[in-house]
Amino acid sequence: MALLEMHEWYDLARDTNWTPGYVAEDEIFPPELSDPFGISVEQWETFDEPYKVCYRDYVETQRDKDIGAYSVKSALARADFFKKASPHWKALLALHFSPIGFAEFHSASAFARMTRFSRAPGMRNMATFGTLDEMRHGQIQMYFAYEFIKQDRVFDWAHKSSKTENWIIISLRHALDDVEHTRDAISAAIMTNFAFEQCFTNLQFIGLSADAAKAGDHTFATMLQSIQTDEARHAQIGTPLIQIMIENGRKAEAQQLVDVGFWRIWKQFSALSGISMDYYTPLEFREHSLKEFMHEWVVDQFGRNIKALGLDLPWYWDYFLHDIETFHHCQQIGIYVYRATQWWRPIACTSPAERDWLEEKYPGWNDTYGKCWDVVADNIREGRFERTVPVVPPLICNMCGLEVTGVAGVGRQVDGRTWNATNFHLDHEGRRYHFCSEPCKWVFELEPARYQGHRSIIDRVLDGTVPPGPDGFYEYMGQSFEERGVCGYDYQWIDGYDMPRAAAAE
């Protein structure tokens, strides 16, 4: 008997809503988990998957994807790529694998909740495959990182990081918990599938794959794109959801979910992809700058989708365009100078040639961020290594968990230049909260009850949660002495990477 084609049975098989006889509908689908917007089940049943897949096809395709990615890995394993990789590329791989692997694995639980609680049968279908996708992303990245452990213990953190209270992990977890894990199925899907996966994942998983291909790391390049082929499919859950929300008079709510989700995830990717693309990728392999990739994937490709769906660009769009050019440069300075608080070996990436590139991509870089690096370089040149590490702890944003920094071009004029650490703060119920930016403050003000209990790493130092003394601080963050970051180039970068220390001394 010939098998029916998928389109001949799909609509019938998808129709899995029925009227419950033994329990009330609300007990199966509590509004706070399923739909706080009060949209009728008939409306949810209009959810039409833009990307239709059946289980048989899914399994076959995923198997082929895995065969492709794993066979590239085993074919290239003999080439010993990692051993020969520069501290640049090692830092980049550590920065990618350590926070992302488990975060993706956790995403499976967000998709599983969409599968369980959505009232739209079509959405439940897509989210089922999304759950399996995210398990794959956790597993493949854990497995690929595992290979490096025997050469570099930093990769222990691919598994370990998500269970620690390291400040970067606190920042990431707070953002992902907010967007993926602590809202009803519809809100979480609009934030995760639309605001996050239809835009920022492209940056790290396709943009960075271009750099990886140029660097000859075909294993990493193939893995990244293979993961993103799943994202491109399950991210489509967001599109019909937004349409149904708008058609049922919930445009404002959908807009707010997009605006909050987009901002929260942007901050994470600004640091992750920004530092990877503009600093850790060796100069000769850089395909584009973060700013250029952001314009390609987010401003153009995603910005058009927002408007085509009938939403508006987020209210902070102009500020966001400015942030694309500034925020990650500040974070890169912070990551380097507070290097012991990271588990990998941060690098400066400001050799003369790299500075020229940064100045070309971000005119004015030398006059702003470059001045900070001049001070760091002078201290190293004079052997004052202790002065390359600030004595005071940074101010941490109570929303994004990243450093509150000066932003070139914003704020008060000093010496003819604008460079001013602007701390947006808010007094709420007897406590002062600090924010790095107007949008981070705005997110807090929308739902103070949701956010006010969260304590940044600095809050935890001040309230005694973190044991006193430097070791107490690092132990709290899960970092033994060996797991505290040191300069990946052992300070040689000040003379340019091509000059070994012995030659420089002559």
Binding site: Y51, T61, D64, E287, D300
Partner: protein, 97 residues
Amino acid sequence: MTTADDAGNLVGPVMRAGEIADAVLEAIQEDNEGREVLTEAHASYLRIKVADECFVRFETVGDVLGRTVTRGDIESNMPSFAGFIRTEPDGIRFVAR
């Protein structure tokens, strides 16, 4: 600097560079006759862009490659796309809205 308005309404797949990407491009040129097909090659991926609407038929891609091509073969090599997607029994359609 580009803004969301300048990008126009170019839609189409972003393909992982390689044999399938080249075949998809050829198929799109054939299946979208009379419409301009633009490309943008990057180190690891190829952007294929057609104004307003772009269709890629599995059979046409299969003809180019000389073997059967399924939705899964396209998906495995398509990490992203511009516009909105609609899977159809015989191909994938990308639309501007």
